[in-house]
Symmetry: C2
Subunit: 308 residues, 2 copies
């Protein structure tokens, strides 16, 4: 599980930072990739990486500002051109379906894979045996969401010593015992799985937020996330400007991470007014409040290990 | 007057060639820039050039395939963000208005300059005292056009010897004589401008074509253009493939340039199947038929001098 930042600027592209997009690589977990936001030239950024468009399974859009959206038709089209065949689901605020439909229609594009577009509200978006994705409403002047990605806890490892203790020697029976809650052996004995596996592996929790003003009450929903990806369009002292433009400051993002007791805070969506020197000040500001802060840059990769 | 190629690939972007866009710089002529086609990341390509989005006056779209279109909303938005205030007119096939309107609407974009969108058919698109732009219908499976840009002939230079011959000494009267067809001097004499200026300067003529199959009858309309920009998606031997996909081969493009007696042929829109080695073969092929052929590459600039 790895976050791969493709665009970490805001508003308009610059030479160093493209507009918003990041990828959650779930290659080990499910052989697929999820995309979060899709600013113009996301497919161009991908060209310079090992990300494979055909692996894309889901695309989540936090909101429909152009710098988060305008790369979507091109990415969808190129994925088809390059032979992508598996279905893709797009989750985004109301309006995304009309935008994609018209873009594909006027350009005469026929995708060679099934495309599902789900217009979202706050709540549960997706759940299977591995993951649960929930959207959280933000405050950005237009509909904007954060996404809470909950990996489900995984069964603990089978403990061979506990099995041999009971005289069960290694063999295909081990797999069977792991697969089902209760196993009846040939000799009539009943083995409860819970008795022979170690503690469950706690699933990882990520929050990837869209553009937003600071919302103090978010801390409850984000409580204990391993990674929080948060915009930091403005420097800490620009609180009024952040408020006026429906954005957050570095100070606000770091405060939220501290209040939510997050593991790591990754900041992105920096205003192009900030150059490299300025960013190192922003970084110091953030770390004063929340030490485990990282400022993302284009092509920054962040590996998220299992919980031990 | 200069052509500046921003994207010379076809279909999908590659590391070396972006999808279609080129710019006609008319800085000396009218202080503005015209854009022809606007594939995704055209604004990103522009970032690496001295092209200024605020100078853009007109955007012509040959057709609405995504590789010629998907960069338009981003370019229009960024031009506004960067302070562009002068009006922009977009000329393109039916559908472009709906696409731009929806893209700006769902993204909540309000441009700070007037935007006019003209859905075109074959015929005269624009005319002023300097230029005339005409569209020509092509054959691409969807509505596709070429643009014929005719610079109007310019008045010849005032010939001082012819004026002094008549006893008219240099002064503000020279400007007056140049400005109007007939000037009455204080002493009652009448000076006809045609008698005292040199031969008119012949205007330049360019043709920038969209994607198309080979159309033999185009040669009449393109007769004598100084520069012909033509797609060459496929190698000469791929005539059947070009036909099937509504594109042209190098051989066909070069033949048209020869038949139309063009000055220079510039090829673009190469299929990504062709690597650098292949392209030098394509170049040889083209030059065998039309020696003054240039293969465009991203950021290639082609200066078009005045006629002597
Ligand atoms: Zn936004
Ligand atoms: Zn085309």
């Amino acid at each position: 599980m790895e976050l791969f930042f493709l665009g970490t600027g805001s508003g308009v592209p610059s030479k160093n930072r493209n507009v918003s997009s990041l990828v959650l690589r779930l290659l080990e977990e499910r052989g697929t990739t999820w995309v979060f936001d899709c600013g113009e030239a996301t497919q161009h950024q991908i060209l310079h990486t090992s990300v494979r468009p055909r692996r894309i399974e889901k695309i989540f859009l936090t909101h429909l500002h152009g710098d988060h959206l305008y790369g979507l038709p091109g990415l969808l089209s190129s994925r088809s051109f390059q032979g992508g065949e598996s279905p893709v689901t797009v989750y985004g605020p109301k309006g995304v379906k009309e935008y994609v439909d018209i873009s594909l229609k006027v350009s005469g594009t026929r995708l060679k894979y099934p495309l599902y577009i789900k217009e979202i509200e706050e709540g549960l978006l997706f759940e299977d045996e591995q993951f649960q994705v929930e959207s959280i409403a933000l405050d950005h002047g237009m509909e904007s969401y954060g996404f809470l990605i909950n990996e489900k806890d995984k069964l603990g490892e089978l403990q061979p010593d506990k099995l041999t203790e009971q005289g069960i020697t290694p063999g295909p029976i081990y797999q069977q015992i792991k697969k089902q809650p209760v196993t009846r052996l040939d000799d009539g004995r009943v083995i409860y799985r819970d008795d022979v596996v170690g503690p469950p592996k706690r699933g990882r929790k990520l929050a990837i937020l869209g553009d937003t003003r600071y919302i103090p009450s978010l801390k409850q929903k984000l409580e204990g996330v391993d990674v929080l990806v948060h915009e930091a369009t403005f420097a800490s002292k620009e609180e009024q400007m952040a408020y006026d433009y429906f954005h957050s400051t570095v100070y606000q993002a770091a405060s939220l991470a501290r209040e939510a007791d997050a593991g790591t805070l990754i900041l992105n969506h920096f205003s192009s007014r900030y150059q490299d020197q300025d960013l190192s000040i922003l970084e110091k500001d953030a770390k004063a409040i929340f030490p485990n802060t990282i400022l993302a840059y284009d092509y920054y990769q962040h590996y998220i290990p299992f919980h031990l």
